[in-house]
Amino acid sequence: MRRRPGIGRTILVGALIVLILLVALAAFYMRKPAPTPSPTPAPTTAPPTTAPPAPKIEEIVIGMVEPLSGTHSIFGIEAKQAAELIIEDINAKGGIKSLGGAKLKLVVEDSKDSIEGAKLAAEKLISQYHPPIIIGAYISRHTAAMAEVTEREKVILVADALVDFLSEKGWKYFFRACPKTSIHGKTAMDFVYETAQRKGIDIKTVVIINEDSVFGRYTALGAYHEALGLGLTVLDQIEYPYDIADASPIVSRLMELDPDVVISVPYFSDGVLIATTMEEVGYKPMIVAGAGGCGYCDPDSISAAGSAVEGFTQTYSYNPFLNTPYNREIVQKFQERYGKLPTEAGGIIFYSLWTIKEALELAGQMFPEDPLNPDNLRQAFLALDITSGPAAETYPSGHIKFGPNGDNIYAMAVVLQVQNGEPVLVYPFEYAQAEPIFPIPGYKP
Amino acid sequence: MRALEVQNLNVAYGKVQVLWDVSFHVEEGESVCIIGPNGAGKTTTLHTVSGILTPLSGRITFYGEDVTGLPAWELAERGMSLVPEGRRIFPNLTVLENLMAASYMRRCRDSFEENLEMVFDLFPRLKERRDQVARTLSGGEAQMLAIARAMITNPRLLMLDEPSMGLAPILVSKVFRSIQRLRERGVTILLVEQHVPVALRVSDRAYVLENGRIVLSGTSEEVASNKKVREHYLGI
């Protein structure tokens, strides 16, 4: 038969291919027991041996992964700018003093706005620069993808993503200074409730509207549970896609439900769309309280929506108007260099990087023989209790202490309100710059 | 004056040559027909003359001007008008819109009203159906519209490709009666037709095209009396 030799050859070649693959796999696993290059010591640092004289560390690489391209690049780029500024500032102020004034070096990688990219970026940072600490990646699912890498390589991950579940995964080397989403939702609800009580106004009903990402949903859930806890009636929770072309169906629905309070978790442009549509159709509830770090009170939103967002509030993880010496200084520097006010994305980086600095400082004191060992570094993070200094001065509650899950126990969000076209701090009341306006202008009972 | 002069035309589709050294001419005011069997290259000849196809070699002169290789729309602007095989009226336009679209060229805009009257006079049927969408016309009406559309452009040479194709015998004679009337008005006509007896009746001279070559030419009477033509095309 003609075909016989052909089939024989196919089998032969197939077997050959399988063999090659097996050899390659075997080679991979043979290498496995051999010690993988320890991720901790930076190439510039001396090997962390048991040698009694403390190793001289000159430079510590801080890795950063942010979405620098794609839809979320608007946040990533600001985070990168903020990080460059702070690293400069830390170095100018003497670096890590307990490590003999070691300087910090920032290496930024683009997450390409995708999970593959975030993972790739983390691998690249670790294999090329061996940073002991990585900060990033703003988007929660990118952060989660990255955490898989950092946990494996034992690199501390300081997250600037807000979604709750990141701290519920049992990750060992994970820390987050910023308030998580449910705190944002809760803060928005608390603010409305307490303000109403102060003004002696009775509120009963709430409608929560949120964009449909996991971020929007967790924030909304925080507000939802708080509303139930405060004895309010939640009439409905409406989810919508963040890229809606037209907000009028949502506003129509709100008008029909006619709640006292609207808690809104906008993404970005949807917030402006909702506000302008409300103004157009002449509908205003007692208050529209935004939750979740970006939306109604961003400088861009105010300029795009104009009077439509007057009186709207929004929770933030950072307050650019916080009246402390360091915050004033850094906001001014940021404005001078980049020509705009730092918002959420930059602010989180401000205090997260200073927290990292404090942790390194503490590690130098606690473990002078091997401060950059991941487990030692982790101990230092857990032992932190920051109530003063730049980190505290830029953090809403002025207090950072990590719990066992890596979240800040004293996490807090602040509420800004648009008053006369400017965002001002109205909550917590003890820090407030101005009395909240309630109900908002244009409200008709 | 010579309206059209075609010299040594060679045309190919890809690698297949279909016309070999084709030469013929049409005098102003004359009516000439090209006859021949199916697949002889008659339509190809008209397509090449009207600029839809580009020849491999050869020369096409139109009223003394070399127009070889010009695109169809430029030739139309110079007064060449082809009524293509299968009519090709614009199906989604009304009869009147079909005629108006034909007066797009600047040089026939001013005479549009006049020409419109002329074609409605020639084809009163079209006048009745002026607001009807063209795709609802019958075959004969569509052929009349196609000719009328060509007439709107003030042609200095009117080329007709198989006007009798797909028409019932009564309609064929109707169409040829209108061609005859055009001829009487002094329109220069180049006709390609399989229906040889009627074609010879409405033309002054004739060419016979076989297998891509001109095999015979002369006045219509001469061609009609040729023995081979009588046997093959006239069936006598």
């Binding site: 391209s69 794609g70 839809t71 979320h72 690049s73 608007i74 780029i77 989810e239 919508y240 896609p241 890229d243 809606i244 072309a245 037209d246 009028s248 169906p249 949502i250 129509s252 629905r253 029909e256 970005f268 442009s269 402006v272 769309l273 302008t276 549509t277 157009e280 159709v281 002449g282 509908y283 861009d300 300029s303 795009a304 929506a305 104009g306 | 600029g51 839809i52 169809a72 729309w73 139309a76 602007e77 008008s81 293509p84 090709r88 614009f90 199906p91 989604n92 336009l93 819109e97 079909n98 108006m100 679209a101 034909a102 007066s103 797009y104 060229m105 805009r109 795709r135 559309r149 452009t153």
Partner: protein, 287 residues
């Protein structure tokens, strides 16, 4: 519930008119040149940015910029036609699709590089407020956009049926070769159709910007909506496009009223597949 339905239906009709105008440019190009421009949505997005900047720098309301943007975009259309479309028209269909997809990727990311992902919206606009008609509140900006859409469509319809140039365009769309035999320069008609299609996008963009914002990703949504309308309308002329737009707007409104606002795009595209399935020549198509 009835009031909400009524309100949403009115919104749907108004948005439907705007959708139809956005799709009209694509429908014109498709009808005349038999080419699907995948970058259509990106054209809309770039036009919206143009409206934003012109309105910002000249300090005029977005609706007025249509007078400037439409001619600019007409020229833009001619340039794109000369550079890209002219080379691919009438070639292998895959090449046509691929080239316009390349254009789409290019424009979207150029916009991202130039303007970042930040949404931009216009603040100053004369068309504000709303009128109340019984239980229904109609925002003036959307009402104007819908009226302008219908007006533009009527104007285009008049142009296509009552001018020689318009007739020549339609003739080209019906039968390219026959048109060229009547002295119509087909390539010039293509360029004209492409330019006109873009000018219509310019008008649409100006009025969309009175109530919408733009970011580099907005193109995808507008593109998909336009494609659905073109498929639905088939080669049904201006009225087919308008009707298809209205149907789409109302389907969206009904979906939002009775199901989940998050699924509206999914429902719209399912409609698209359904039409391809049962009536591939479109609901109003003739050929």
């Amino acid at each position: 519930m009835l009031e909400l339905l009524l309100q949403n239906l009115v919104n749907g009709i108004l948005m439907g008119c705007v959708y139809a105008l956005v799709a009209l440019g694509l429908a014109l190009q498709f009808g005349v040149m038999d080419i699907i421009n995948f970058a259509h949505g990106e054209f809309v997005m770039i036009a919206m940015y143009l409206v934003f900047w012109i309105s910002l720098y000249l300090a005029i309301p977005g609706s007025l910029t249509s007078l400037i943007v439409a001619p600019i975009y007409f020229v833009f259309g001619l340039v794109v036609y000369k550079l890209v479309i002219d080379r691919i028209v009438g070639t292998y269909p895959l090449a046509q699709i691929a080239a316009t997809i390349g254009l789409m990727v290019l424009l979207r990311n150029l916009a991202l590089a130039a303007w970042r992902a930040q949404p931009r919206g216009l603040q100053y606009e004369v068309l504000r407020g709303s009128v109340t008609l019984g239980p229904v509140v109609v925002p003036i900006s959307r009402l104007t956009a819908a009226l302008v859409s219908v007006g533009t469509m009527l104007a285009l319809h008049w142009f296509l049926t009552h001018t020689r140039l318009g007739l020549a365009l339609r003739a080209t769309s019906d039968d390219m070769q026959a048109a060229s035999l009547l002295g119509i320069n087909v390539r010039r008609m293509f360029a004209l159709a492409f330019g006109l299609g873009c000018a219509i996008i310019g008008i649409a963009a100006a009025f969309i910007m009175t109530f919408q914002q733009v970011n580099p990703e907005s193109g995808l949504t507008w593109g998909l909506i336009s494609w659905i309308i073109v498929v639905m309308a088939g080669l049904g002329g201006v009225s087919g496009v308008l009707l298809s737009g209205l149907i789409l707007g109302m389907v969206e409104a009904l979906e939002i009223t009775f199901w989940d606002p998050r699924a509206s795009l999914a429902v719209m595209y399912s409609l698209f597949i359904l039409i391809l399935w049962v009536k591939p020549r479109g609901l109003f198509g003739r050929r």
